[in-house]
Amino acid sequence: MSRKLTSLLLAMLVLAGAMSLKTVAAAQNNGAVMMANGGAPVPPPMMANGGAPVPPPMMANGGAPVPPPMMANGGAPVPPPSAQ
């Protein structure tokens, strides 16, 4: 049983490492694709059908101001960043 749990732990560790690496590699993502099996020319990404400009995200319904982030617990004013 412990070996099976170790297998699960290893799989999750590798997955977490791989996704972290992907996040780092795609930190400045501009829509580049990483497709590389064989030497065929890479077509434009699937999601970018046509050349129309990308619309704003779906969440932005209406023109109301965006509320403060959920992390700001309490109503105290946010201090300015500390000067170096």
Binding site: V24, N30, N37, G38, P43, M46, M47
Partner: protein, 231 residues
């Protein structure tokens, strides 16, 4: 449409993919590295299929896009299985095949679930988005797994030259793609990166063909030539 240089690199890569399978059959290593050779064989078949779609519909057509990205996902899964074959070969004396297979299945399922989780929040083209995301995520899983395998080879003092050559060339391949992907994101205006992935698509089958043709399965390298890992 790709230029003549693009077609030349693609043609060379396709030839080298056939060369890997032929060399493996001639040296009787086909069944030993079955998934790895199947990956190369299907890569060759899919190259022909992609050429048909490209010549009929063009680079920017939906048909070529679907053909390219769906076939890429299939090939990436085969590449993942090829990597697991290398794991099974490295750990064959430790009798842990059952656990290696269990980790491989869990990892593939975990990657698929993660990809589904990403896609179902952000895409209306579920299947296409899933295939695309799964392929990208499996590349990075393969990259990490190759580094882990190289660590195991150093730790276990593996000396089979052919196996080491196969693993190292796969590690260079994955690392080069990750580096190109990161650089392409940092410098999107450089057209230079267009030709890098197809060139690496040639180098991997070249290294594997060399490994099958020049190195016998029982050839050993001197342990002193490997890096020493403290216990």
């Amino acid at each position: 449409m790709p230029g003549s240089l693009g077609y030349a690199i693609w043609f060379l890569a396709t030839l080298l993919e056939v060369a890997v399978v032929v060399c493996a059959i001639r040296r009787r290593s086909f069944s030993r590295y079955l998934c790895l050779n199947l990956y190369m064989f299907f890569s060759f078949v899919i190259s022909l299929l992609r050429f048909q779609f490209l010549s009929h519909f063009g680079l920017r057509s939906s048909e070529y896009k679907y053909c390219y990205y769906y076939s890429d996902a299939v090939l990436t899964i085969f590449l993942y299985l090829a990597l697991i074959t290398l794991y099974l070969n490295v750990f064959d004396e430790m009798k842990v095949e059952k656990y290696v297979r269990l980790v491989a299945v869990l990892l593939l399922a975990g990657t698929a679930l993660f990809s589904y989780g990403v896609v179902q929040q952000s895409s209306n083209k579920m299947l296409t988005g899933f295939v695309y995301e799964l392929s990208q995520n499996l590349y990075f899983v393969g990259l990490v797994l190759t580094y882990v395998l190289w660590g195991a080879i150093l730790k276990l003092r593996e000396t089979r030259a052919q196996l080491i050559q196969l693993v190292l060339s796969l590690g260079v391949y994955f690392s080069a793609f990750a580096a190109t992907f990161a650089l392409e994101n940092m410098f999107p205006s450089f057209q230079f990166f267009t030709y890098i992935p197809p060139v690496f698509g040639c180098l991997l089958p070249l290294a594997w063909a060399y490994a099958f043709w020049k190195l016998t399965p029982d050839a050993r390298i001197a342990p002193a030539r490997l890096a020493v890992v403290p216990h």
